[in-house]
């Protein structure tokens, strides 16, 4: 579904991504791990062009999205993103948060959008919060709403940027449960996370990034139990 060729990203003089080549297949759950500063978040944010690649090509469902003439808004409709800081719209209710993009971007009528929203709220277990404002929710609830908001656009792939890193430990579980459900339903997912247990349990492929390149990748079995590179072993020994 997503093809990444020779992806480079510079921030001024800093060369963060030094040539990434990757493929993400439909239905795959890809988990990206690695030390901070390795470029994992930058890589993820390049996938939906929140960061503009300095060099390289990214193809989504066969079309090149790094091509200058490409309309990125259309592509983003099909890619959902969940942020570490949730980024819910504080001046809108939960219902409005979820239905805003379907109504404005996909031009659905209000009733249809709300029906989809109610369904999603049920999936994440928060249907009673439809008229609440984000400031009235806990961190875990906010993130689950954020996931529902991204799902409302019926994306083909979901991108997660350290979705539980800003949560208190007791709330991490409820968010991971929702993500597990999504994976079981066959959603293509790319997840940047530090939750190794989750990665092992749910991931189809683990990608270990370090210093701007893909150091090692494989099934959870391969990467966690039999890491090939020294750097991978060092990292895993610190976090496991």
């Amino acid at each position: 579904m997503i093809t990444v060729k020779n992806l480079h990203k510079n921030f001024g003089p800093l060369h963060i991504l030094k040539g990434i080549d990757l493929e993400i297949k439909k239905g795959e759950v890809v988990v990206v791990i690695g030390p901070s500063g390795s470029g994992k978040s930058t890589f993820l944010r390049c996938l939906n062009l929140l960061e503009q690649p300095t060099d390289g090509e990214i193809k989504f469902e066969g079309k090149s999205i790094t091509d200058k003439r490409h309309n990125i808004n259309n592509t983003r409709e099909k890619m959902g993103m969940v942020f570490q800081q949730f980024n819910l719209f504080p001046h809108k209710t939960v219902m409005d948060n979820i239905t805003m993009a379907p109504i404005r971007v996909k031009k659905l009528d209000k009733a249809k959008a709300e029906a989809i929203a109610v369904d999603l709220l049920r999936t994440v277990g928060l249907e009673d919060k439809r008229d609440a404002y984000p400031s009235q929710l806990s961190g875990g609830q906010k993130q689950r709403i954020a996931i529902a908001r991204a799902l409302a656009m019926e994306p083909h792939v979901m991108l997660f940027d350290e979705p539980t890193s800003a949560l208190d430990p007791e709330m991490v579980g409820e968010v991971l449960d929702v993500m597990k459900k999504l994976a079981e339903r066959g959603m293509t997912m790319v997840i940047v996370t530090h939750e190794m247990g989750f990665a092992r349990e749910v991931g189809d492929r683990i990608i270990f990034m370090d210093q701007g390149i893909v150091m090692e990748q494989g099934t959870p079995q391969e990467v966690f139990n039999a890491p090939k590179h020294q750097r991978t072993q060092d990292f895993l020994s610190k976090v496991l």
């Binding site: 929140l50 259309n74 983003r76 409709e77 993103m81 993009a101 971007v105 400031s135 954020a146």
Partner: protein, 220 residues
């Protein structure tokens, strides 16, 4: 002449003055608000020339005295361009464009103050730049700068006195007329000062009420 007696005797003059002062200040702020928002958006444009125009607008209008701007619009335009405004029109135009420059800066600060993640979330959902600005960024920016806009209104009420220079019959001009009639050079201006104070004080209290209401609705 005793303050109160003079005020009562010439109350019709002062009333006219207050009307013109308030109307001009209101126009200045309301039209300045709309214009200021436009200028703020121009400054965010992707075209360099448009951005430059926005910058120049703000820098020039904030960097020169409003009196000079007023004289250019009222007299300069008339003699050089043959475009002749009535005093009220010149006054309204000057207050509007001057206010728009300050408000554009206020809006810019407000827009930049909105968390980056908001824009990123909106765009990642497929919303265009314009949609994001319109539904996500600007509403939040406006909410945060409302107090500053209220302050601008209060400032403009006082600054509007400048249009007395071209003959608009607002508070200061009317006070001058009364000086001419009564030969009392002090009392009319004292009364004027008190009137300005009442106007600005009342307005700031009203604004305070609005701000508290706004805070309450923030569901903290």
């Amino acid at each position: 002449m005793e303050l109160f007696t003079m005020f009562w005797e010439y109350r019709s003059y002062f009333l006219t003055g207050v009307q013109y002062t308030l109307i001009l200040a209101a126009i200045g702020v309301l039209c300045g608000f709309v214009l200021g928002l436009i200028i703020a958006l121009l400054r965010m444009s992707s075209w360099k020339i448009v951005r430059f125009f926005g910058h120049a607008w703000v820098e020039f209008l904030r960097g020169t005295p409003m009196l000079v701007q007023l004289l250019i619009i009222h007299y300069g335009f008339a003699t050089v361009l043959g475009v002749s405004f009535s005093p009220i029109e010149s006054g309204a135009i000057t207050l509007t464009i001057n206010s728009s420059a300050y408000l554009a800066e206020i809006f810019r600060a407000g827009i930049e103050g909105v968390d980056r993640g908001q824009g990123e979330a909106a765009r990642s959902l497929g919303m265009s730049k314009g949609m994001t600005l319109r539904f996500i960024i600007i509403p939040q920016a406006l909410k945060s700068v409302l107090p500053a806009i209220g302050n601008e209104f209060i400032t403009i009420i006082k600054e509007s006195s400048i249009v007395s220079m071209i003959g608009v019959t607002e508070i200061i001009f009317q006070s001058g007329v009364i000086v001419g009639i009564t030969y009392d050079p002090m009392t009319p201006y004292l009364i004027a000062a008190i009137m300005y104070f009442i106007l600005t004080f009342t307005l700031s209290r009203i604004l305070g009420v609005f701000e508290r209401k706004l805070k309450a609705s923030d569901h903290r």
